[in-house]
Symmetry: C2
Subunit: 546 residues, 2 copies
């Protein structure tokens, strides 16, 4: 019995599929090579990293888009027993600086187009650990760091034959920071074993169903939770890889799908909304594309409908940095295969069914499991072999069950539930639906009100541009909802009246916000999500008890 | 991060698929219940076992066919931290006795129809550890053991609510003995983690591709390497289970396929040859059946053709007790999908492609890797998370690479290759083909001669009923082949001449046996394989050096 490490996936792919391709759109055009050559490149890069002094336990960072060189680092760095730290270049410069500082990265790979991002984040103290910056390309731009090399120079003269050190399955292989929606980004470490388990799980039919015949194009960034694990899973299956390179626009994506015969692609809803708009005006042959995995945020129903009309299945998935990331996928269960389309759609828009290998439960504030009735809300907790144990750089409070508050008693093998911070319902078919963040849900009179449900309902009014709902302290009820609205020059009193009336139709009376405030704009996080913490800071005036 | 234990598979199936069915053909007719009820039954059985004194680390044996009660033990016993020891009732009574003795089983479950088998194996010394025999049914026959209970009595009064103890992934969950083809059956222990890894691997598309919509019927006995892991994988996927019960004949199997809508079934070639004969004379609707997994021995080409003609794919797999068992599956690679049928068939009859998660290599006697040219023979070695570390009851020599003879150097994470004892070739597409057993291959002048290839070629002559070829010591060449033939009253001199001539057409001259001996019968093992060790014992007269 050997350990669950990543390298055997690559060895197998090289042995069985030496001629299958890895393709990338790069700034200099298309790159195209085989698994056999890929393995050589991984070997060369690993030898170069070793020569640069990278050792077991070290961290190597990337600030890169989705391309072949980034993919090489995916195997080369863990093969050394080192840790691939993928930095999100979309984070504010402050966050990038803090993250490099916290992670103690020894080496940073950066795309030429992201050199400015690195420069903006640079600070000699925070970057003290960084011995070298390697710019992906044949030349290196000016950067405010001591040692800057081009990738070509970095690997030049190194052998493709690589003799890996002993790597243990519990060695960290990856590091990724969460998006920072609810606070500062938190560092989550992935061991080989976690990535191995996650790879196997998403490869199964109840995961993303990946086989050697697939042509996999991860549009979800490789800096965002390992592109949802697709580079590893595609390798395990022996599939063809297609990387869309820096800032692909819808035309690029459609062209890649057509030209490379992509069968499986994945990304957040906005990407696919953009592609849909493009498809409205352009002819495209999507005949090879069988499915698009959408996650990170809920895909609007119309997105699923529109791709269904084009013969492409949208597979909705849920996950988080802490779950490496895939935790649930919304497949149609056997007894729903014959249901009418609207019934099916209602299930497919939910976040899905927990993956085989994971456990889940949904608990209220008292730590009691809520019924699976599709209505009762609670915080989702998950656990399993690819769920993180805590954070390596972040709040010392790691949000883990500790046997005290929120513990679920002794019916668990170990009490190591991850509190996801997501508030969900579970229906009688077992489909999880995300209704809010635990930080955002409004606790009113012992019951929970979903701020997201209210926001969506309010925003469905044509005169409302944006709306955010937060809980405000209330003497009698604990918290009461207050809505912040951005309007389109409306009659505000009338607007509040219609909106409240509409809410009363769909929700209990006590869900209707106590106050509607009009603001210029809703504050947003780096990734464009509502920064509700900022709003809550404003809610200084509690509502009088009644 | 929690451990890789079996229970979460069942928990998930019960939560997500409470109404999906477990169906079994039993001596008393069909049994049919849901996962929800199955979980209750597992709980009740676990409570009963606990009350009977079964503790973590204990072994609980079964001498049972494929049915619902046997499946209950599959989860109930490991849930206790105990070990399910599935005994093969087809082994000679001597072996069963030795196995119970070696395993120190505390409790034995036995089918009424196998009570005689148990009685025949009984011996007070060997059965000293056995405190209780539980007969599956409502009454218990006479047996020469002290405490005999019926299953109904055993579980009566026990609660369905079960509170499992802490189980670690490294706790042994199962024990299975090898078939004893090359010597005494050897005990192989499976930890939770091994079974978890194997479950995930066979569930993937590159494995057996199992989803919730599947209806899985394992015909391969549950006493034979956990019915190839299908009961666990079907549970992980949320599939429907169909167990064919004691000694199903082809008519029973076809009826179950039709009535239960079986989509995936599995067993050794002889079973499916029997089903084919039956189908020649009977109408049957196999429309739900998409694939039959065949392994344990190579399926004859005509078997694959015949099922192809009926629209059912034969999926050929290779495995062994030591690999829990599935190690390779013969899927068509993407670039073979467009090949002509005969080319495809030539690949599909091979033992297949190594599963994702495993590593393999093929080495000659000097421990050198042989080229993947489809011709060079060597011993197959495998390693990975579901490959056994050695034997718990068997030869102290555990056939493991130890860094010395046969070691493959330092390019491996750990030097823990399992020598399979199978001699194979690997073609340039990576397909493994089993050509012989390492114990049977004839080493002549530094080259290897496949005894199996010669046997098949000789048996293709219509006047030959059976043939076995073994290596006999030879002064100059090391070993030379000698053939033992069972004939149909032929002109023996003429027969030897034609057979030799035919062999010369297909093989090098030096492959042709030096001697042909006619015998009454070829000695066989309990499972019907040629007992070549017996033949080798006869080859007392070495061939003169030339
Ligand atoms: N399919 C989905 N539908 C709706 N929301 C989703 C979906 N998938 C993921 N999410 C949201 O994204 C979260 C995971 O995102 P990520 O790990 O990138 O960081 P974050 O939770 O946004 O930020 P932070 O943890 O730093 O506050 C989930 O907890 C969930 O709230
Ligand atoms: N698809 C297949 N084609 C040919 N032979 C196979 C196939 N699958 C398995 N086998 C043979 O079966 C063996 C595994 O069988 P098993 O573990 O039941 O015991 P055994 O090897 O026959 O007996 P023992 O190890 O006790 O001598 C493999 O090593 C291989 O020789
Ligand atoms: Mg989060
Ligand atoms: Mg064997």
């Amino acid at each position: 019995m050997t350990g669950q490490t990543l390298r055997p996936f690559l060895t197998r792919a090289t042995q069985l599929y030496p001629d299958r391709e890895v393709v990338a759109r790069t700034a200099d055009g298309m790159t195209r090579y085989t698994y056999a050559e890929y393995a050589d490149r991984v070997g060369r890069l690993a030898n170069a990293l070793r020569a640069a002094g990278v050792e077991r336990g070290d961290r190597v960072a990337t600030l890169c888009w989705n391309h072949d060189r980034h993919f090489e680092a995916y195997f080369a760095v863990p093969d050394l027993g080192a840790q691939l730290h993928t930095i999100n270049p979309l984070l504010p410069a402050d966050d990038v600086r803090r993250i490099v500082d916290g992670a103690d990265d020894r080496l940073v790979f950066v795309d030429p187009s992201l050199a400015d991002t690195l420069a903006a984040a640079y600070d000699p103290d925070a970057f003290e650990s960084v011995e070298q910056v390697v710019v992906i390309g044949s030349s290196a731009p000016d950067l405010p760091v001591d040692s800057v090399t081009s990738f070509e120079t970095f690997v030049a003269g190194h052998d493709a034959d690589y003799d890996p050190p002993t790597v243990n399955e519990d060695d960290p292989a990856g590091l990724c920071y969460s998006s920072g929606t609810t606070g500062d980004p938190k560092g989550v470490e992935y061991t080989h074993r976690m990535l191995w388990s996650h790879t196997m799980a998403i490869t199964t039919p109840m995961g993303l169903d990946i086989a050697d015949a697939d042509v996999v194009m991860p549009v979800v960034p490789m800096f965002h939770i390992n592109a949802w694990g697709l580079p590893y899973a595609a390798t395990a299956a022996g599939a063809k890889h297609v990387y869309p390179g820096p800032s692909p626009d819808p035309a690029d994506l459609v062209e890649l799908i057509e030209r490379e015969g992509v069968t499986l692609t994945a990304g957040v809803p906005t990407v696919w909304l953009g592609v849909l708009d493009y498809l409205d005006d352009h002819d495209a042959d999507l005949s090879t594309l069988s499915r698009i995995v959408i996650g990170g945020a809920a895909p609007p129903e119309r997105l699923i409908r529109a791709f269904d009309d084009r013969g492409v299945e949208v597979v909705h998935g849920w996950g988080m940095t802490e779950t490496a990331p895939v935790g649930a996928v919304s497949h149609l269960k056997p007894d729903l295969r014959d249901a009418d389309y609207e019934t099916q759609l209602a299930k497919r828009t939910k976040q899905g069914l927990i993956l085989p290998g994971l456990e889940f439960e949904v608990v209220d504030d008292a730590g009691e499991r809520v019924p699976h009735d599709g209505e009762s809300m609670g915080e989702l907790r998950v656990r399993g072999p690819w769920v993180a144990d805590g954070y390596v750089d972040g709040p010392s409070e790691t949000r883990r069950g500790d046997g005290a508050e929120g513990s679920v008693g002794d019916d668990a093998v170990e009490d190591s539930w991850l509190r996801t911070g997501d508030v969900v319902t579970v229906d009688s078919d077992g489909y999880i639906e995300l209704v809010d963040r635990a930080a955002d849900v409004i606790r009113s009179g012992g019951e929970w009100i979903s701020s997201q449900a209210l926001e969506n309902a309010i925003m469905s009014h044509e005169a409302v541009r944006e709306a955010a709902v937060v809980g405000v302290p209330h003497e009698r009820w604990g918290e009461r909802p207050v809505a912040y609205l951005v309007d389109d020059d409306a009659d505000r009193d009338a607007l509040v009246e219609t909106v409240s009336a509409r809410l009363r139709e769909d929700y209990p009376d006590w869900w209707v916000p106590d106050r509607f405030e009009f603001v210029e704009a809703i504050p947003k996080t780096a990734t464009g999500k509502f920064a509700k913490t900022d709003l809550r800071d404003r809610r200084d005036d509690p509502i009088d008890g009644a």
